[in-house]
Symmetry: D2
Subunit: 343 residues, 4 copies
Amino acid sequence: MKTYSFKNDYSEGCHPYILEALIKTNLDQQNGYAYDEYSDEAKELIKNKINDQTAEIYFVSGGTQANLLVISSILRPHESVVSAETGHIFTNETGAIEATGHKIHGIVTEDGKLKPEHIQSVLDSHTNKPHQLKQKLVYISNSTEIGTIYQKQELKQLYEFCQANNLYLFLDGARLGQALTSEINDLTLEAIANFTDVFYLGGTKNGALLGEAIVITNDNLKEEFGFHIKQKGALLAKGRLLGIQFLELMKNDLYFDLAKISNVQAMKIKSAFQDKGFQFLSETFTNQIFPILNNSQIEKLSENFDFYVWKKMDEDNSAIRIITSWATSDEVVEGFINEIKAL
Amino acid sequence: MKTYSFKNDYSEGCHPYILEALIKTNLDQQNGYAYDEYSDEAKELIKNKINDQTAEIYFVSGGTQANLLVISSILRPHESVVSAETGHIFTNETGAIEATGHKIHGIVTEDGKLKPEHIQSVLDSHTNKPHQLKQKLVYISNSTEIGTIYQKQELKQLYEFCQANNLYLFLDGARLGQALTSEINDLTLEAIANFTDVFYLGGTKNGALLGEAIVITNDNLKEEFGFHIKQKGALLAKGRLLGIQFLELMKNDLYFDLAKISNVQAMKIKSAFQDKGFQFLSETFTNQIFPILNNSQIEKLSENFDFYVWKKMDEDNSAIRIITSWATSDEVVEGFINEIKAL
Amino acid sequence: MKTYSFKNDYSEGCHPYILEALIKTNLDQQNGYAYDEYSDEAKELIKNKINDQTAEIYFVSGGTQANLLVISSILRPHESVVSAETGHIFTNETGAIEATGHKIHGIVTEDGKLKPEHIQSVLDSHTNKPHQLKQKLVYISNSTEIGTIYQKQELKQLYEFCQANNLYLFLDGARLGQALTSEINDLTLEAIANFTDVFYLGGTKNGALLGEAIVITNDNLKEEFGFHIKQKGALLAKGRLLGIQFLELMKNDLYFDLAKISNVQAMKIKSAFQDKGFQFLSETFTNQIFPILNNSQIEKLSENFDFYVWKKMDEDNSAIRIITSWATSDEVVEGFINEIKAL
Amino acid sequence: MKTYSFKNDYSEGCHPYILEALIKTNLDQQNGYAYDEYSDEAKELIKNKINDQTAEIYFVSGGTQANLLVISSILRPHESVVSAETGHIFTNETGAIEATGHKIHGIVTEDGKLKPEHIQSVLDSHTNKPHQLKQKLVYISNSTEIGTIYQKQELKQLYEFCQANNLYLFLDGARLGQALTSEINDLTLEAIANFTDVFYLGGTKNGALLGEAIVITNDNLKEEFGFHIKQKGALLAKGRLLGIQFLELMKNDLYFDLAKISNVQAMKIKSAFQDKGFQFLSETFTNQIFPILNNSQIEKLSENFDFYVWKKMDEDNSAIRIITSWATSDEVVEGFINEIKAL
């Protein structure tokens, strides 16, 4: 038996519906560079879902690309962005943001989530103008890089704080589907649109071959965004590839169905660990879980399953990371749970 | 009857073999970020074809992305690149190269091709160091943006000039397949590798959904290229998507077969125009042709076919651009030729 | 006898009044970073002279610095600047503008001056948005790099064209004093302020040790300019050094008196060449002249005087460049004229 | 009586010897752009003092400029720099380093000084290549921004660690004179040169009108540095202004004499505070001291003296910052000490 990988949520190709759509549309001639009919239709579906016909929507290939495009298009040279130190842009994108000329102020958090007081502390320590940077943007992720999610009240407070302080709020939604279908979630896609200035819906980690949908709701940020996409090498000649995928994902809420599957599978595994009395590095309700095991248990589970050893707790114990996806089958989950039970 | 578009070579999806491979491999779990098995296999095929097992190969999404990655990874801040003014990087990529900090010296050419004397003239007018930039890189395209191609002797001379002047030579091969299968071509893929320091094989305009294969043969340029791909947002989580496509294209020389089809279809149409006595803006032997028609002829052809009116020659006449692709069927070509005959 | 240099207008230190002011103020304690009293006073004098109390004025060290600060502070990433190919930013500043991420569209001109039709041609060839850059700024110099100057009507037309086309107009005044005191000039400093959005008054080439005064008159460009000065390393801790110099230069119009001297000395030399029947590369009325001499005449003059051989006209003749300054004495000019007469 | 400012060490002009030299050399014609004789002589003196005739030396205007020039010239796009969070580049230069495209990894330290283990911790948390940046440079200051200095053994260990880990070591010497003349210092200028790859000698805060002398001792970093100076707008047309000043400062060790005066004056004031039993925020032996006073004491001292209230300790007490300079007279110090005694 070959090992099964729980290392990430992009180990497989894409949902079969997408392949079917690619086959069906393959020889239709379409305009290039995102002017195809499928992209138009997909945008309409997203606009309807957030109840904002004026939103501007752009499809790009990946999360790092979306992050650098949004941030570099917004900031003037002397402006900076605030992020949690766990934020993907801070240490996991090879300095992509700094490469566009902008500093990221990193904040140590407990749970990967930013609060108004975090931002305030950065503002307070940067009052010596013009020797210090002007903060202009706040970057958050939902779900976060460590699997936690924002509650509606938290997001609302953060957004209101940003508005009061002349800051834009940008939400990285590489795993937004998982956040919005978490059992403890109280946000909707429309609320996400209402309480941010710009965000994106991740496709790559939720059933697409590639693709993130950037949604700009603040009028100030809409102007001429298309130029940046081309300049940064992010404009696909065959934009149809992204349009077709988001059209499939948005139709009949496939996007949310897939995200929910990934969450449910993770929660089953979480329960199995809990039932055996295992502790967790952090409490999560999305498709990432971080149980703490001892070395021999890790070794045992590694025989048939791949996963990352995430953080060494002491000489004998480490937290591991288990990620599930839309493609994680019941059979695999059951097999894994059986092994957990046997630990 | 719906109009048929000759506007570009990326109006359709991809060759059916690619779709078949995507379906077949869809649920195989693979490592992310270009560490998948398909990418490895595709790289092997390319290395074999250029007869260089030490080459480093990277798959990225598009041409502008490939151009900015290669150029910005090579140049230090005070170094610049030389290009024909028709070169894609000069006016058609929204300043992507300058956005990474580097000037492009534009050269007016007759046929879109650079010659040693062109480069020499730039070197001669930039001798006042350090007030003037240091030229370090030469950028060419094959086939060029206006459909012409380099002969072996031309490329060899240019490469030797670059070597003698401490310059790197970079070849944009967005339409390299078309160049190498042109009826007047005398270059091979191996020769391309031998007479450049870095080049890429375009997939997007030759049967892939997306993808260009960057091939680095000069050891000086290999170091740490992967960092740049991630930093510029060009590293796909599901790198398999690119690997699978180049694997299909390289297997059994599908890549060259498809390019040849696009050339042959264009040459048929070219003959039809020639037979009717039409002139051309430039003489081309690849999949782009630029016949000169009068306004009523253009209007007539536009009824059933889409194409760009490329350049106004005088009040009554303009050159149009006709581009064919691997997906241009004999039936369409025949229909178009019939309309040409009827002009 | 040591040779005398006509190579440039920055071979000496500074006007003696400046040294006297430095001595006199030396031990007065002042706030750093341009918040000193001398800078304030100097700014007041300039505001009065342009009759605009709302202008924002900043003193920086040199011309390249002023150019990159102004241009990079104005442009968003996808915006570009238009310049004559003789413009200092185009080939003589080591790619300083491109290093901040922006393309310069170079225009071939007859006399170093831009006209509306030049700009229009760039706009006309960049209509394929977003694949082509958005032009947002026009850069001109007065006097130009080849000694010519703008007439009032020319500047006014250019400014009105810019306004009609949503472009900013930036005037590099490294030798603005020489332009405004030329015998054929019909512009005033106030007119310069009225017909540009931002410009600077050069000190380095007109009697100061170093220093250019950037004057921003368009409200859109005033916001937060100080941040850019600090970020680009252009903010002097002892800003007093720049303030004191511009205070001396602006008091009693010393600035214009010095510029006039440099022009008058050049015109005397020009007359001497004309009287002997020499031709010129271009007709200039400022402190740069470009007479065409044969090789033996150049050799003869080189015995006692240094100057640049500017442009080879044919095997036997070249244009040389003679630059005078506020420090060029009557005695030196007479000695040179005697040698010209003896040719 | 007007208040006397202890706010910084750049409140006055320059040492009188410099003014005398400016007067004496004023009308000598010199080549521009750092090719003057004074710069050559000053460089010779520095080379002799560090006992390295192969060092490359460049004079620039200020510290932020020196920092961004050195760092951006060394790093490739995917490389980063490590600094203490108190390091001047981290929060006090308006993101100047990030504006050139590079991330600064900030480290919390006790005393403003970096140790090998600090750097190791950054290396250890950035092993996921190419998703994380490659650290290539370590930035330190001596004296530090909070007045502390490196001992020889500390610097040597740090340098050896850097060498062992393929990192360059860059020392910001804006206040290097003060460090090397501190009563507890055991380093020489030669040792500084030996245990770093590049450093600079600050003039602005030690008697010059402006100017820092960048000294490059590692051969790898010497290549083509001059281009960067021009490109970043840091090349003065009248480079003589910097050459003359460093010639005066280096002749007869004026540089060290002035630094020593600033230290001695600070130590006298420190003693006075100590004698009265005051505590300090940190123990310093250079020209910056940070005594902790209660609010009424601060108010009392503020009547005749200006200084920054540096850090609030609690409701009733704050640390203030007192900076002395070469221009701080014995009379002023005595007057201040008398007021301290009277507290």
